[in-house]
Structures are given as C-alpha cells and as structure tokens.
Symmetry: C2
Subunit: 145 residues, 2 copies
C-alpha cells in the first residue's frame, strides 16, 4: 500500500504542542473546579451560571451550550434555583418554554467566580505582550474564527 495511514501521522512538533495543550487543559480545568468549589458550586453548576450571567436562556439552549441532554439541565437549574442564584421565567411567546436567568446574587457569584480564576493571571503573566498577541492569533486560527 502506498498510503498506510488514512490521515497523516502528526509530526513531532505537532505532538509536542498537543501534549502541551493537554497540560494547559488539565491545569485550566483544575483551576476552574477549584474556583467553583470555593463558591460551593460544582463545575457544571459554575459553567451554567456563567452562561446565564451573560444572558437568560431557555432550558433547551442551555443544554445545547453545555453539550448535554436537556434532562440534565433540569437538575442543575433546580439546585441553583434552590440557592437563589437562578430563576425560571415563563416565555410569553411560547408557554412551553422556560427561560432560566441568573438572579442578582447569581450574577454576583458569577463575577466573583470569574475573578478568582487564577489562570487568567499566573501562567499568562509569564508572557510578554508580543507573546500574548501571537498566542491569541494562533488560538484564533486554531478555532477557525
């Protein structure tokens, strides 16, 4: 066979970058979970609350954004609602829809959560502005945006 691999085997540089990204991902996640825990939130709760702190969303949309089944969203919103961080509102246009929205307190917690994310400061602080710019451009191109 002339082409033993359907897709090209990544070169050494690519493999190293993948490895490094894996480490960054692990550190980012650990930081995020830790910051959530400091606010007595689980990671899933923190992610949902962060989304709602930007704009209210129907349950269905939340499930899409969180890449999970709609039935899971019910429980997560239930728990946040029980703590007064989120509320469910009716949608006047479609009475089947429930729009989840962060409360004042919910937005406060989301802001505090965002600011306690050390990842924004520590590892990035190691980089010069030029490095941050080139990092930004590389990430943008990777994400195809």
């Amino acid at each position: 066979m002339a082409t033993p691999h359907r897709t090209p085997r990544p070169d050494a540089l690519t493999l190293e970058v993948v490895e490094l990204i894996g480490e960054v991902v692990a550190r980012f996640h650990a930081d995020y979970e830790e910051a959530a825990a400091e606010h007595t939130l689980t990671g899933a709760q923190a992610r949902l609350l962060s989304l709602l702190s930007l704009e209210p969303l129907p349950m269905r949309r939340l499930a899409q954004k969180l890449r999970c089944e709609p039935s899971n969203v019910t429980g997560i919103v239930d728990r946040l609602e029980a703590r007064g961080l989120v509320e469910r509102r009716p949608d006047p246009a479609d009475r089947r829809v429930k729009v989840a929205a962060a409360t004042e307190e919910g937005r406060r917690v989301a802001r505090s959560l965002r600011e306690s994310l050390r990842f924004a400061r520590e590892p990035l602080a190691e980089l010069s502005e030029a490095e941050r710019l080139s990092l930004r451009d590389a990430l943008r191109r990777m994400l195809g945006s």
Copy 2:
C-alpha cells in the same frame, strides 16, 4: 484606598486569550470524551488507561496524577480490570501497595484512543510551522517548563 484590587485586573488582551483558551479547552475535552466513547470508555477511564499505558503505577500515585481521592481509583480500576484492560499486581517491596498496569489489550486500546484524537490534526493543521513553534514556546512558558 489606594489599591482597590489585591491583584491587578487583567487587561483586555489577557482576557481575550483566557476566553480563547477556554474555547480550546472545551473543544479538547469534547474531542477527548468522544474518542473515549468510541472505545466504550468514560473520560476518567480513558485518562487512567492512558497513564497506565506509559508505565504501571500504584493506586496512590494514580490518584495523585488524576487529582482525585484514592477511593475513586478503586472503582475506575475495577471497571477497567473487569474488561481485561488493566490488572493489579502486588508490590514485592511493600505488601500494602497494589500496582495497576495496562494489559496488552489495554495498551492497544490506549494507542487507538491516542490516534483517534482528532484534536491533534484538525485545529493544529491550520497553523504554519512557524506558528506552531511560537505556540509551543508560549505554552511552555505558561506552564513554567
């Protein structure tokens, strides 16, 4: 008060890079979970198996590497062992210790898992070699290595 913030508020560029890293993290995770699911593994099982495909490790060390409690490792190894992907070996030097090791089949699955990680190819393929080099350097510095 002269200094209203204990830590400096990140500038706009830093915030954008954090945002982008968040997206990369999300995509990486989604890819990883999907690749694991294709092998009928959960994310946690895939991570543990990947670790063991490099070298056998005592249960305690596994917990440290996975950043979780040792009691959790018991269950994950149980499930992988039931499928013949991992085995527990005694440690001759300390009879309290059990060393988890990937079986031949486990290493095969780990290799297949690694190769099915699209993240290694698709987003990085968008970058030129020079961009990958500068991305590597930035990531290295962020991780302090």
